[in-house]
Amino acid sequence: MRRMRLVVAVAALAALAYSGFAQSQEGPILIGASIPLTGGVSMFGQHSRWGAELAAAEANAKGGVLGRKVEIDFQDNRCNPAEAVKSVTQMLAEKKYVAIFDGLCSSAALAIMPLVERAGIPFVVANASATSIAERSGVGGNKWTFKVNPTDASMLDALVGWLDKEGKAGNIAFLGEDSDFGRAGSTGLESALKKRNLKLAAVDFFQKGNADFTPVLTKIKARKPGLLALYAVDADFQNAIRQWYGLGGGVPLTGRVLVDQVPKEIMESGFLDGTTSVQPYDPSVDTPGNKAFVEAFRKLHNVPPILVSFESYEAMKVLIDAIRRAGKADPAAIRDALATTKMPSMLGTVIDFDDHNLAHNNAIILTIKGGKVVVLGMSKT
């Protein structure tokens, strides 16, 4: 009788396990995303979500991948490494996701990396730009992390190359947030300048959420730099740019300036003319793929895409392409397929990964001329 009960219990467990397996093989292919849905940069999280969802929707409209729908489960990390670890740990424990997506903030992505390595699941970084993510991936490092967007170092190298050609790279002051984003910006600029026997004229950092920049901006103005590299986002950027205008900065900006977020009045006044910025994307890029993307995005959300929406869209397409080529929804097979990616980008290059699992897409060099943003050109990162 006892043996009979044991057999029934084992059979029940086997049936349960099989039903879960069958469900995981027949239900939608699930991708887990950890992005800031609340907190100071939730606006970027929202754009990341919209971009990734558009890529998944396009794949699903064509019949899905491997005959199954692609679904993305978005979890909030508030751009906080501890929250990122919490959200990804929960997702990994459920064992139903085939890959982890984005992180968005560099600190969050860096915190996620050891988790995916231990769990053996691919992690596709779409937006975090810290150079250290690529340095710690691929050969001799984390083989499960793939970074689709360019690093700060590679973008800034492209930018400094342009500035150097015009003789403007010799006197740059740096002001950035005290985070992995800002620190990566300063080290990226320093190393790009060092290659050309130049160095930064001044370096300052501020705490995220700081409202008043007038002391540090007064100091920077008094040093009379040729350009100011400003690494600030969201409210910090709005406050800094207004106060720079209020103090009559008189110096154009450089670095990764969010030109699309400059108040219209300041932009049109010509105050920022001569600003030269590098970004992974600009909606005005004139390629058929980008035009279709901008139109589809606008139709859905009534706003143009920003660089975060573009990066998440293209990175999700890379991941979906890898799942398709892997031939099965298995994390190890997807990782191997990611490593052999060769996918055309909307920016005119072919996305493939180097030894450090880093793709080298084009960077867009922008300038402000006559109060308007003008694309100067694209430069391979």
Partner: protein, 291 residues
Amino acid sequence: MDAGFYLQLLLNGVVIGVIYALVAMGLSLIFGVLEIVNFAHGEFYMLGAMLAYFLTMNMGQGYWATVVVVTAVAVCLGYVLYEALLASLEGGGFERSILLTLGLSMVLQNGAVFLFTTTPRMVQTSQSYVNLVVGDVRVSLMRVFALALGLLAFGALYLILYGTRIGRAMRGVAQNRDAALMVGIDPRAVSRLAVAIGIGLSGLAGAALAPVYAVHPLMGFSFVFKAFAIIIIGGLGNIAGAAVAAVALGMVESVVGGFLPLVMVDALVFGSMIAMLLLRPQGLFGRGVRV
């Protein structure tokens, strides 16, 4: 560095200091009368700025009318806050007051995130991008307005506390609640008014600073912790002390920030607060509601 550089730093410091004072005075008044540390004070400042944004940018109302409406709404909110939550703390419960106001702060902050998202908004007025220039020294006109509103608020509070019976009653309740009751002062009515004025001041600060700083649900956080440091340095409940400490701190911050890394400025502020707690716990100007 020329004289213009130092003058610019000092002017920046005075403006920042008066902005701090505008937020800190209300906090100080509430502590002075009720002995409650209002951790939600920054959120009322944020709500004031949010309402100012809504009225100017969505309803098309003029800026000065907006300042008046926002302050009046904040005064009413203060009444409601006292009657709904703080009145229950009468007769002690300092720990309860901390938990209650901290909880309220989280509810208001996250509620604002839920309703408005964290996208920064800018209040635009016809003077938003007008700057006053004297030689090498520059300041935006909206900062000058905020400075003037801060000075006006201090003057008005002085008149209320020293020129009216209700002001004397407030000082009486702050000194000895039981004795005030014995001479016929209603501590509850006085406390209610103190909270209304305190929250009104934070609403005024929000409206005054909405065209100066980006408006978003997390904007109160950085200011309120500075305000705590200021009221401790100036003397808990001492409004003149808070105003003087705020302006002094603003100037020190500006001058230090002009020479040292910006990240050291906050360390300086909170280091001063710790030093004050160790060396002179009653603050520079002593405790109690006075100006």
